[in-house]
Symmetry: C2
Subunit: 261 residues, 2 copies
């Protein structure tokens, strides 16, 4: 039994889509979430910059004595997960591996991946998908404006619709579309309208939450407390739309945040 | 006579709209431009973060032995100009003062200001305008997605049009619209279409270039060389759309960039 919190971080509010799935699946766990809003967006930054930022956020979470860390960010997972796992002596889970496992289990072969510029450029999704499903055909598309739109709260207007149409119009003939950035589930309704009912739209948060549950069970790291867990949210810059978007996402009346870093 | 370069910096490609006006007005000056692409966007960051970033970029420019510095960024001017002028012993010019002087000279009283979230929140434009033109009525609007759209190169599509319509629809009955972020002149055509022919759309780069010319003449700091000057461009992160957008802006066949910081 291990009552310490599970640490989570993202560049901003996107990782809250992962936090939400974790809270759903593991209601009695405690969570510590860092939104690195001072450095948002990660998606347009270089690998080197992302590695520096991830290192700082993981150090923050280790200082809070978390028991494991979830990188709830597609860019950070694809650019820095392996480096962080080599650098720190704490379990670190990203969003790619659990999702690829699901793609393989579901026998998907024609797969679209949308993500930030940095993620697509790193080719991390395609490489990991093809390692696991060699016959897969992967269509990639960078959508650099979607995460900023989500941070702005433009998640269901005509502009979001047009931008998503612009980004998705060339992706054809797929069975599954991976939302390779944790901000994108905020646009799920529009994306579903764009790609049609027959495409499985994959919210990586669900896959990550299952992976975390399995990991803590296997390693006997569950929180022994039977009450509902607590979530602490920290931002590196408080002056942003985080609260409004997070409130919508978590369907919470209020979201309390603290400054860090 | 002073043959050293004029230093310029911005969060990304926006300041190139200022560089372009400077090159036009001062063709035999040398310029050193830093685009802080690793930290883009400045517009959503706090004052404290902006001050830290500006300090680093000014130190970079001082290391290059520039003779003066232009903060070609609305956010950095409104959040950090005074702090930088107090901190460093080198002439530093921002984009607000020269523009306000023009507004006063032109006798504008009904003024719209569009800028990033940080700039609008700081109220820097409105304060400076009212100090100079006490009877002015100022309408402010934060447009946080426009700078990211410019960095993406979406400067003349339907999405940019809709976003600009969304941001400008409540600004009514103005004589002049200040583009309070140096990225916005990239959308000048769309903005003109939105606000109509009778509104003077103010590209701060033009005002800044005049101010710099006046300053170096008055202080006998002109470059004595009669040949065309040289421009060096440095980015803190090379992996971005900077070159494509800058090429369009400067109507140059190629733009050479170097890594810094």
């Amino acid at each position: 039994m291990d009552n310490r919190a599970i640490g989570i971080f993202d560049s901003g509010v996107g990782g809250v889509t992962v936090l939400k799935e974790l809270q759903k699946l593991l209601p009695n766990e405690n969570f510590a979430y860092i939104g690195d809003t001072a450095s948002f967006p990660y998606g347009s930054k270089s690998k080197k910059t992302i590695i520096e930022l991830c290192k700082k956020r993981i150090e923050n979470l280790i200082d809070m004595e978390v028991k494991m860390i979830v990188i709830a960010c597609g860019t950070a997972t694809s650019q820095a997960l392996e480096e962080m796992q080599a650098m720190f002596n704490i379990p670190i889970i990203g969003i790619i591996k659990p999702t690829v496992r699901y793609l393989r289990d579901m026998n998907f072969k024609k797969i679209g991946v949308i993500a930030t510029t940095g993620t697509i450029r790193s080719n991390g999704w395609e490489e990991k998908i093809k390692e696991s499903i060699p016959e897969a055909k992967v269509q990639n598309k960078a959508c650099p404006l979607l995460a900023p739109m989500a941070e702005e709260g433009w998640i269901d207007n005509e502009i979001a619709k047009l931008a998503i149409h612009e980004y998705l119009k060339d992706i054809k003939n797929i069975d599954a579309l991976v939302l390779g950035c944790t901000h994108y589930p905020l646009f799920k309704k529009i994306i579903k309208g764009e790609v049609g009912e027959n495409v499985d739209i994959i919210n990586t948060g669900e896959m990550v939450a299952r992976e975390v549950r399995e990991y803590i069970r296997k390693n006997k790291m569950e929180n022994g407390n039977s009450e509902n867990g607590d979530t602490q949210i920290y931002l590196t810059d408080l002056e942003c739309n985080f609260i409004n978007v997070a409130k919508k996402l978590l369907q919470a009346e209020d979201v309390k945040i603290q400054k860090i870093g």
